[in-house]
Amino acid sequence: MAKSPDDRGRLRRLWDWFWGPTAVLSVGFTLLAGFLAGIMFWGGFHWTLEATNSEEFCVGCHTMETNLGEYRETIHYNNHSGVRAICSDCHVPKEWNFKVKAKIMAVKDVYHEAVGSISTPEKYEDRRLHMAEAVWAKMKKSDSRECRNCHEFEYMDFTIQETRAASEHQRAIDTGMTCIDCHQGIAHKLPGGWQEAYEKMLDDIDAPRFAPDENVMLDTTETKQYLDGVRN
């Protein structure tokens, strides 16, 4: 004997209700309500994503204290013009597709905060190289996309740059180098053995190599000293 509709389970009734025709709503009402609900959902979703891009959100976790302290000593935090780059400007892509991917991958940060992977200075130093390598690889693969949101070769006036900077930037254009090839450690301290690690990272991702040159791997300390000079 067939079951009567009332014998259906709650989920089954909900399913049938969901796919049943509306008896009391006009097409126009349904369309407009769906349109408005879509706007509210998308607006809320986007607002939430943007909220997670704020500096306050990024440094809200205990494990970000070391990062924050180092970043505050750089020209990206404090400089003569007052224009600065916050965490998300360098670590979260602007383009939607890449941004969502970065946000999903950032779930791992929550995990590591929870298990305390870098909860002490010692643990942080142990993982510093690993974390730096991950960011370098990401930037190398994306042609330093996030750097280029603010810095573009096309708009650099080499005539007002330091001679060496102008020369190196011209060489970077000529040889297809990208920002991170020289500017590692621009916002955070470099780990020990970073040059060898960077070379290994290039091998790991099959990145194109450049002809050996005496200045291919710049001494980042010099770059930082120059930028600190500009800042002060």
């Binding site: 796919w19 597709n97 890449f98 969502v100 991917k101 999903i104 991958m105 791992k108």
Partner: protein, 85 residues
């Protein structure tokens, strides 16, 4: 692994997932829905690669196409289940 999951999630919430689903809902033909979704996947990857196949990473292209096809098919299923036309 995390990067792969991120790529899938990014595509679901981007053109292949959303436009693919919408296009799929416009037809009862599942093959057509899948093709339209797949084309959206190709288009989206090209748009984000500045219209150059040289900038396209194969894994991202494949994921975008697969997500587009899946979204198109889901859209088609919604059309079949939810409408009489």
């Amino acid at each position: 692994m995390l990067e792969f999951l991120g790529t899938i999630g990014g595509n679901i919430l981007s053109l292949p997932g959303i436009l693919g689903l919408a296009l799929g809902m416009m037809t009862r033909n599942v093959l057509l829905a899948g093709i339209m979704g797949g084309l959206v996947g190709i288009a989206e990857t090209l748009i984000f690669a500045k219209m150059s196949f040289a900038n396209v990473e194969p894994i991202e292209l494949i994921v975008a196409i697969v997500v587009g096809i899946a979204a198109g098919c889901v859209g088609c299923a919604i059309r079949r289940k939810g409408t009489t036309v």
